[in-house]
């Protein structure tokens, strides 16, 4: 460390941010979208848009779910019932397939169905799609690779992110003096201002989300404590730490015994939590003498706690009597982890707060994007003379330029392709959900290859225009393919569907604005009196 502390931190900030910047951009964009996971899924299942969801007593909804499970899966080893929430109004039931049974409507070991809570009628006509769940998984499991690799990759990137944030705070000398400063149309200056503003103004969010993000997978990244105490037996640790599903390994007795009515158990569990709603019901070994019913509290707006830990009440299946309660008074350590985990997922938040989380997430995306662009803008100035003589910038700059176009220009197109595929593919298509995801990656791959091959200002303009147009016309696509367009959803107050249309359209319009801005700058440069070299690798400068 020959230089001072601040210079060292500046170096650390630059490289810790740049090296993982493009993965972080994907993680930030997918994570931001995941705040509206349920709403995205709803929008992608237009068959459910018009379903009426009156308030149904949870006892009734649970009763309908059990009736269906008795009919479909009486010999299954385990049932799961996810109760309706204000964001997902259907009752979801799933069950572990009995050994040797392979139904067509199942993903491997489990089958599932969606019910109307009031009538118990199956909502079967919804198209097959992963919906918002795809973005949620993409956020930490990436795709086309084993989840465990992806989680290590994302974890390493998040650690770099944390280092970049902390070293960035040290590097930034004028946090308060420049608090409100943004000087547009000044090249590198503007990029730095934009990077500072999106980073500083949403700093509480950035620090929280990066730290809690690492913490969500802490048992994987820091296994030493558990390994030492449990002597390598992680299974036992998890069973003791998170017993919400009841005893997973309980063996059936083999003696048949009818399951008691679930409605009274639901009522009893709610009363135990002071009226808080029920989240999930797990029935282990249904219709066996050793059946147990585990009822967990819902995580969501209706529950006062921010924690992701779920208190559970366990009932004896045949008698319906309460056998024990878990997690009513969690230890300090468990609750700390639960609240930090809960903050990351933000399931507790009201719609207003969710909107603020989403906007902060967008600030994060912009912070990463402006960061990697700023590097290219700065670095290119070292080659300014060479470029003016018609030469080329160095390999590093060209590589970063290419990756920038591929990630920042390409990702909006990938998202748009996913949504368009959802509406354009035939409803009955084989493996439809996977084909939608393939559209996402094919669209991204095309944009990325183009970006790496021709990282020019023209291409920026083209990709931003394509992405912006596809996203901005989403309300039109929705109107053309469903009966629930904005003219219907706005007057009737279907905010989940209308909100998706409006937000995606607004994002598309901002991309179009960016494309227009890039184009205007390009035109100005071309019209400038001194001969401006239209050389590849100099497009990123001064998009704003």
């Amino acid at each position: 460390m020959k230089e001072g502390f601040r210079q060292s931190m500046a170096w650390l900030h630059t490289w810790s941010g740049l090296l993982v910047g493009w993965v972080l951009f994907l993680v930030f964009v997918a994570g931001t979208a995941s705040y509206f996971r349920d709403e995205i899924t709803l929008w992608m299942k237009p068959e459910l848009h018009q379903a009426q969801h009156p308030d149904v007593p949870p006892e009734v909804a649970a009763g309908h779910a059990v009736a269906l499970l008795q009919q479909r899966a009486a010999d299954s080893p385990r049932w799961f019932i996810t109760m309706p929430t204000e964001r997902e109004p259907g009752v979801r039931v799933s069950w572990a397939n009995p050994p040797g049974v392979k139904p067509k409507n199942g993903r491997g070991r489990f089958s599932s169905a969606m019910l109307e809570p009031a009538t118990g009628a199956e909502i079967s006509e919804a198209r097959e799609t992963r919906g918002g769940e795809f973005f949620y998984r993409l956020h930490f499991d990436l795709h086309y690779m084993p989840a465990i690799w992806a989680r290590w990759i994302v974890g390493v990137c998040a650690m770099f992110m944390l280092v970049a944030i902390l070293s960035g705070i040290v590097t930034h000398r004028r946090i308060f003096k420049d608090f409100f400063t943004f000087r547009p149309k000044k090249g590198q200056r503007s990029w730095l201002d934009a990077h500072n503003a999106t980073a500083v103004l949403a700093l509480p969010f950035h620090l929280m989300i990066t730290y809690t993000g690492l913490l969500t997978l802490m048992f994987m990244y820091f296994p030493a404590g558990v390994q030492a105490v449990y002597r390598g037996d992680q299974e036992t640790f998890f069973a003791e730490m998170f017993p919400s599903g009841g005893d997973r390994n309980a063996k059936p007795s083999g003696e048949a015994a009818p399951l008691a009515a679930v409605g009274p158990m639901v009522a009893e569990a709610r009363a135990h939590w002071g009226g808080a709603p029920v989240g999930r019901i797990t029935v282990n070994n249904p219709n066996d003498a050793r059946a147990t019913v585990a009822i967990t509290r819902q995580i969501g707006q209706a529950t006062p706690s921010m924690s992701y830990n779920t208190p559970t009440v366990i009932f004896d299946g045949p008698s319906g009597r309460q056998s024990k309660t878990i997690g009513d008074e969690p230890s300090g350590a468990a609750e700390t982890r639960g609240v930090l985990y809960g903050l990351h997922i933000a399931r507790f938040s009201s719609p207003f707060l969710r909107g603020l989380f989403f906007l902060s997430g967008i600030a994060g995306c912009l912070m990463v994007a402006t960061g990697v662009l700023l590097w290219a803008v700065k670095e290119r100035q070292k080659y300014a003379k060479a470029i003016a003589k018609g030469g080329r910038a160095g390999f590093g700059v060209r590589l970063v330029d290419g990756l920038n176009v591929a990630a920042i220009g390409g990702l909006p197109i990938a998202f748009a392709a996913y949504f368009w595929a959802n509406r354009l593919l035939p409803v009955g298509l084989e493996a439809r959900a996977d084909v939608e995801i393939r559209w996402f990656f094919i669209a991204w791959a095309v944009a990325a290859v183009a970006g790496l091959a021709w990282p020019t200002r023209r291409l920026w303009q083209l990709l931003l225009t394509v992405g912006g147009t596809l996203l901005a016309t989403i309300p039109l696509l929705n109107a053309a393919t469903t009966a629930t367009h904005l003219g219907v959803t706005l007057p009737s107050g279907q905010w989940a569907v209308a909100g998706f249309d409006l937000v995606v359209c607004a994002l598309g319009l901002s991309l179009l604005w960016a494309a227009w801005f890039v184009g205007r700058r390009a035109a100005k440069k071309a019209a400038a009196p001194r001969p401006a070299p239209a050389v590849g690798g100099e497009m990123a400068e001064g998009v704003r």
Partner: protein, 96 residues
């Protein structure tokens, strides 16, 4: 009042607070009132006090909206959005 109303009150108060705080800074005072419009000491302190007070009101409204634990989370989000709003306001319409 309902939680949403308190949350909006919190957002408006935070935005107002940041307007006042930014106007207490020479650079932004010039941006809005033009060069040469001096910023007397007394006015600077009045703006700073008003701004800080408004942020306090914003915190109180956040706590009222979302309770004493989640209220702080709400306030962080409100501060972020309000501050970005003021940056954009100064950029897009500097001569208020």
């Amino acid at each position: 009042m309902s939680a949403v109303v308190w949350a909006v009150v919190s957002l408006v108060a935070a935005f107002g607070g940041f307007v006042a705080l930014s106007l207490a800074m020479d650079r932004h005072h010039e941006q809005v009132f033009g060069r040469g419009a001096g910023l007397p000491r007394r006015r600077r302190w009045a703006l700073r006090l008003t701004g800080t007070g408004a942020l306090g009101v914003s915190l109180a409204a956040s706590l009222a909206a979302q309770g004493p634990t989640q209220g702080w989370v709400l306030w962080c989000g409100v501060l972020t959005v309000a501050a970005v709003g003021q940056v954009l306001a100064l950029t897009c319409a500097p001569h208020g």
